[in-house]
Symmetry: C2
Subunit: 212 residues, 2 copies
Amino acid sequence: MEVNVVENVLKLNDEIAAMNRRRFQEAGVTVVNLIGSPGCGKTELLVQTFSQFHGRFGVIAGDLATTRDADRLIRAAHSANAVVQVNTGRGCHLDANQVRHAIDEIDLASLDVLVIENVGNLICPVGFDLGQDSVVGMFSLADGDDKPAKHPHLVHAADLLILNKVDLAPHVTFDKQLFYRDVGRLNDSAVVVETSASMGKIEPWLRWINCD
Amino acid sequence: MEVNVVENVLKLNDEIAAMNRRRFQEAGVTVVNLIGSPGCGKTELLVQTFSQFHGRFGVIAGDLATTRDADRLIRAAHSANAVVQVNTGRGCHLDANQVRHAIDEIDLASLDVLVIENVGNLICPVGFDLGQDSVVGMFSLADGDDKPAKHPHLVHAADLLILNKVDLAPHVTFDKQLFYRDVGRLNDSAVVVETSASMGKIEPWLRWINCD
């Protein structure tokens, strides 16, 4: 019975994700589902994107609790209209229905790119389609070189992988060869870029969303 | 129906956790459920504990994939008998039944302290009792000062909170007052200690497991 319930939940999620995807396409907005560990720098990347991206940009930010991400993002966006916070309570991922309600609060047609910043978690968000065009997985250099190998499903699902906080390289132990080898073994078509969001160095990410 | 299934899963988990707890008590071993984000330094803390703790120590290490943590821990322990790796596949947390099988592979009576290193995830592991004596929540200074506020359920459940990677303080932005204020607001009885596992500085943690 448990398996059937899980299958039904995922089937319903996929149906709503397909509806979201149609709405995104009709509005002409490119949508990214950004999945990364807690503290890998997702919000800082998006704060910097508001400053540096030349297109029209919006964010849906998922977290268990607090509006701290939305508060930071609204300050960067100089507008509350481009940012929606979703609080999931005990929920470990965003689902398509939460996104469906969130996009009711955004004028999709006014955006070129919308990033859905998922709940900080490398595992559960991977299983839930939100209607996005691309999945972006994000790691922090401070979290160690073994994260791709330990999270194969995320690496496998990702169109782009971001290695953030590369400015910390002189201060932590991190084997880049191992990191890239593990990524290549799991997904040889994903693009990998390095950023240092807290230093404002996000050019490869901006190039990717411009071309995607 | 979905709610009933979830309730049944949790009820069964609690029953098995109670069995585990009785086995731990009969063996006279103190058991810690260690919950932290991916890359916060859980395994490095335990590697250092094998070197520095004067009692008899063992680890059950949970991960989606790979035996890298167990390999590191066995090297530190100079013995494969004190370390068991559990691979959860897509599973986002350890449950009591996985721990029940893992402890069949350890001579519990030969240990003073057993740490169950949960899957790197600040959310899902909080809901599953494993039969432990204490819950320890672990954060990395590199992951930012907002993590307690964003993960209130973990902070609320924790007996001890570890702030690791404090050696990175000169290189990252982290408001310690905010961190401590949020922790105090959510759980005013939890002990908080600071460590730098990669530098071998784990004395406050060792004092805590000695006294716990």
